[in-house]
Symmetry: C2
Subunit: 191 residues, 2 copies
DNA sequence: GTCTATACGAAGATAGAC
DNA sequence: GTCTATCTTCGTATAGAC
């Protein structure tokens, strides 16, 4: 099935970008990892690697957003933090601190030749922030504050994953999460 | 002067990594940007690109640490946040949101072939955190809390620079800074 | 849709002269 | 310390057959 190998390639790209970055991931790596047929790359992605990366960013954005959405449905403000952090914690530990966020990787390596990549990354970050903000509002955080707090959560957790990779340790993420949870809880009563 | 071109290469590498990342920056780019002689690369850096990157990370780490140290000498807790943020704000805006942190770039693209790179990055992040923590302590934040808060500042600001690059806007950094300053100020009285 | 073959360029690294 | 020339590998992309 053609559509199937196309999707596998997108998922594999997102997976590999986490460990090797955008420039560090070659087309052949995506082919090898996905098991997709080599000859159909430019059939499925006529714009080449840029198009593949753009779709990988979009895929990662939607994937994580679905997770945040599901996790924020339950409850309190602190659980909104967990919603975003849980996935990264698992990825970091399972990979031996070799894998991070593919959206960050693409953002950092994007250049003026491919402005679509920065745009796709901004869309992903924006969606995560919005979904988290809604979760915080539902937990009782005022709207304006919720948006700002959600942005801090996205920034701090993404930054913490980078620190974890450098230190090869989850401690930075745990420290950051502890601070963020206190802050989120306080934001409810502070009104 | 040989030592001089060596140092220029290290500085240029740090500069270029900010925009193009590690894999995206070729040796020839470093030569061109630094004006260093092409033939002396492997004389100065016998271990090749890895060694150059390691020293560039170290250089960036020391450079920024000196800035944090100078800025935290004056004062209050909120100024400790400014100490770390000021430099990134300038870099982002001056580059049209094309440049970020070279240490983050190297961390994300480092792989098992060169574990020195992750180690050098961890050292840089650790120094920034320690210097910030000392600044917070001097401002009246209890030692244990200061360390954790300093880590949050490093993570959140680094994460925010990535968001700024994606959005091509300083707003994410400003949002994050506002939250961090409130938090730092509150940490003083909270004892 | 998928294949092979190949063009084309870039990159890291080395050798040996000066 | 610096130069030029070169080796080797790799990576994207294309062409054209099946």
């Amino acid at each position: 099935m053609g559509t199937d190998s196309r999707e596998r390639m997108v998922r594999s790209a997102a997976y590999l970008f986490r460990e090797r970055g955008y420039s560090g991931t070659a087309f052949r790596d995506v082919i090898a990892h996905s098991g997709a047929p080599r000859g159909s790359i430019y059939h499925h992605f006529p714009e080449g690697k840029t198009q593949l990366a753009e779709e990988a960013v979009r895929y990662a954005g939607e994937f994580l957003n679905a997770g945040i959405l599901a996790a924020t449905e339950s409850g309190d403000a602190a659980s909104a933090v967990d919603a975003f952090v849980g996935w990264w914690r698992t990825v970091l530990i399972k990979s031996g601190f070799r894998a991070g966020c593919p959206v960050v990787a693409v953002t950092i390596e994007a250049n003026d030749d491919a402005p679509q990549l920065a745009a796709a990354a901004a869309a992903a970050f924006g969606r995560w922030q919005d979904t988290l903000a809604t979760g915080l509002e539902n937990a009782g955080v005022p709207a304006g504050r919720a948006s700002r707090l959600a942005r801090l959560i996205v920034a701090a957790v993404e930054g913490a994953t980078v620190l974890c990779r450098a230190h090869r340790d989850v401690a930075p993420l745990d420290d950051v999460v502890a601070e963020l949870k206190d802050l989120a809880r306080a934001a409810v009563t502070d009104g």
